[in-house]
């Protein structure tokens, strides 16, 4: 497709998003604009309630904004139906959640296989690829165990393996380190950087953990429902309020 032609991976312009009734309206995004490129790891930072999770949801195609245009790899997401959005997510997105969201009744390998199986890949192929990527995240030998038997860092590594197993062009990480201690968080971010580094892939990380800002290529700061500024160096940010 024309994906290669764009260096821009994600572009959102003039996005309005509000919740609640018209009388009691909570504005989450107000004319927000955002841009991410292929091959970079961009972080969305900002205080609680600034709208970064909402913006992430809009980019991920799980929320449809009331106004504005969202374009991911050249495809407009606003105006797509639920089914098309679902198909889009299935093809293009990998997720790492704050609370891991690993299914406790499945084995580690089975959890990793989920995105492939959703795509309709055969079970055996999915299993083989899951084992391969679990090896990469350093969990060889734990494949048939349950996620609950693993430490928080190991669980998040499983989540990363799951997010990348189907090699999505867009990786979305929602507070990946907030449930982890400092050292483990750094290891996880290092792993995200190492594994996802690809000229085609764009990684969007929402976080307010300033200890991991150093892993970002660029940092977009949000304030009151819009991007206030984008910087290349985390040292330029005022992190006191984070």
């Amino acid at each position: 497709m024309s994906r290669l032609a764009h260096t821009v991976a994600v572009r959102a312009t003039g996005v309005d998003m509000f919740f609640g009734t018209p009388e009691n309206r909570v504005v989450a995004l107000k004319q927000a604009g955002f841009e991410a490129r292929r091959g970079e790891l961009i972080m969305l930072v900002g205080p609680s309630g600034c709208g970064k999770t909402t913006l992430l949801s809009v980019i991920a195609g799980t929320l449809t904004p009331q106004a504005g245009a969202v374009e991911v790899f050249g495809q407009r997401l606003d105006g797509l139906g639920q089914e098309a959005l679902t198909a889009f997510r299935r093809r293009n997105l990998g997720f790492v959640f704050q609370s891991f969201n690993l299914i406790p009744t499945l084995t580690v390998a089975e959890n990793v296989m989920v995105p492939l199986l959703i795509q309709g890949r055969p079970f055996d192929e999915a299993h083989a690829r899951a084992l391969a990527i679990l090896d990469q995240v350093g969990l060889k030998g734990r494949e048939e165990g349950r996620p609950n038997a693993l430490s928080g860092g190991q669980q998040q590594r499983v989540a990363i393996a799951r997010a990348l197993v189907h090699e999505p062009p867009l990786l979305i990480c929602d507070e990946p380190t907030s449930a982890l201690d400092k050292d483990t968080g750094a290891q996880i971010m290092q792993m995200v950087r190492d594994l996802s580094r690809s000229p085609e892939r764009c990684v969007v990380v929402v976080t307010h953990d300033h200890r991991i800002f150093r892993f970002a290529d660029r940092i977009a700061e949000m304030e009151d429902g819009r991007i206030s500024r984008v910087v290349d160096d985390p040292k330029l940010l005022d992190t006191t309020h984070l």
């Binding site: 999770t53 992430l56 949801s57 991920a60 799980t62 929320l63 089914e83 679902t86 198909a87 889009f88 997510r89 299935r90 093809r91 997105l93 997720f95 959640f97 704050q98 609370s99 969201n101 299914i103 406790p104 009744t105 499945l106 084995t107 089975e110 296989m113 989920v114 995105p115 199986l117 959703i118 795509q119 079970f123 349950r146 929602d174 507070e175 907030s178 929402v206």
Partner: protein, 396 residues
């Protein structure tokens, strides 16, 4: 994905056990209660099963087989004069008191059959020969009756023991001796006591007071004449009531005496109501337990289903996953429940008490209801998951 769905289901052993228990228990309750119900109801038309003939003829006012209204002896000639009749034999049935040798009284079902042909004789004799019924003062009793009317004594271990009646033992019916020359194996009846067979003429003697002794006539149609058609002819020519003798409940014809007996008991007794409530309770308990368990299973997995949804699984896939889970649980629950029901049933059949008749239809209905419960649970789960916003996964 369905394999994962199954793994999700089987992963939580405690929840699975609870779910299967609920489903199996409701399946057990439905199958077992219905079987006992149909077992008891099948006792109501026992004479139709024990005394086999193609067509039964009775007084026009007769409603069911346990309620014989006597006919005149010459009615036999009238029935025999109907075209299409191959033969007709007299039959006497009545409930009389029999006096045991120890002075105890027992209610029995006295059956008098034609001594010439023994039409209506029990099919299986475990002891004795039917021909011995031609000897004076002789009867054939059924196995249950032999035990029921047996003598209480003390066994070698000092405990009370019941000695069943044997061939050669005697008792009295209306002060007339009855000597047992055979033991037969027949089905038990709902009303009256054990079956005691004798000849038609001797039955007249045993029921001194009765003015007429012809209760029913057993009729065989000529080759090529359908029983129902013969019934029409008999009713038209004689004004008596004629019945077919089919006893398989789902193939009952309009003229089936067994069917009319069944419905007579259905409308005139409280049995269907009491058993119907038990079956319904089983159904409700099953729906409540398994629906509740499955719902909590869905609730617990809701965030994971939301994550799967966010990862790009459509509602169709998720719905099918839930259906696979619910139906798998339903199938296993049904199998376990049916297994338990049949195990109980086999013990009951072995003991003969209470009666247990598990029709295939009962099994299929139970199957359908259990799957129905599963389907309802799955639908509730699907609705719950479909209401969940995929975006909710991002909120811690």
């Amino acid at each position: 994905m369905y394999r994962l769905a199954l793994n999700m289901l089987f992963g939580d052993r405690a929840k699975l056990a609870m779910l299967l228990c609920g489903l199996a228990f409701s399946a057990l309750l439905m199958a077992q209660q219905s079987s006992v119900f149909f077992g008891i109801m099948s006792w109501t038309y026992t004479p139709m099963v024990n005394i086999r003939a193609q067509v039964w003829v009775s007084d026009p006012m007769v409603e069911q087989v346990n309620d014989a209204k006597p006919l005149r002896d010459t009615d036999l000639g009238r029935v025999r004069s109907v075209d299409g009749v191959a033969w007709a034999a007299p039959l006497h049935t009545s409930f009389v008191q029999a006096r045991m040798q120890d002075g105890n009284f027992k209610l029995i079902t006295l059956v008098g059959i034609d001594a010439d042909t023994f039409a209506g004789a029990p099919a299986v004799l475990s002891q004795g020969r039917i021909e011995d019924l031609r000897l004076p003062d002789t009867v054939i009793v059924d196995e249950w009756g032999a035990a029921l009317m047996g003598r209480m004594g003390v066994g070698p271990d000092g405990k009370p023991r019941n000695t069943p009646l044997q061939v050669g033992d005697t008792f009295e019916i209306n002060d007339i001796q009855a000597r047992i020359v055979g033991i037969c194996r027949v089905k038990r009846a709902f009303t009256g006591g054990p079956f005691v067979y004798t000849t038609y003429d001797r039955a007249k003697g045993y029921t001194l007071g009765a003015r007429r002794t012809l209760s029913f006539m057993l009729v065989e149609p000529q080759k090529g004449v359908a029983p129902a058609e013969l019934c029409d002819r008999i009713e038209r020519d004689t004004g008596l009531k004629a019945w077919t003798s089919d006893t398989v409940i789902w193939s009952w014809g309009e003229r089936s005496l067994a069917r009319n007996t069944f419905w007579w008991f259905w409308t005139n007794t409280g049995i269907p109501f009491s058993f119907g409530t038990a079956v319904l309770l089983g159904l409700f308990v099953g729906i409540a337990i398994s629906g509740q368990t499955f719902y909590s299973f869905v609730l617990e997995n809701l965030r994971y289903f939301a994550a799967i949804k966010a990862m790009g699984a459509g509602m169709g896939v998720i719905a099918r996953m839930l259906i696979v889970q619910a139906f798998t649980a339903g199938l296993i629950g049904f199998g376990l429940g049916a297994g338990m029901a049949q195990a109980i049933g086999r013990v009951m059949i072995e003991k003969g008490m209470p009666p247990f008749v598990m029709y295939p239809q009962i099994l299929w209905a139970t199957f359908a209801l259990v799957l129905g419960i599963s389907l309802v649970s799955a639908v509730i789960g699907i609705i719950k998951v479909s209401r969940v916003d995929a975006a909710s996964v991002f909120r811690g």
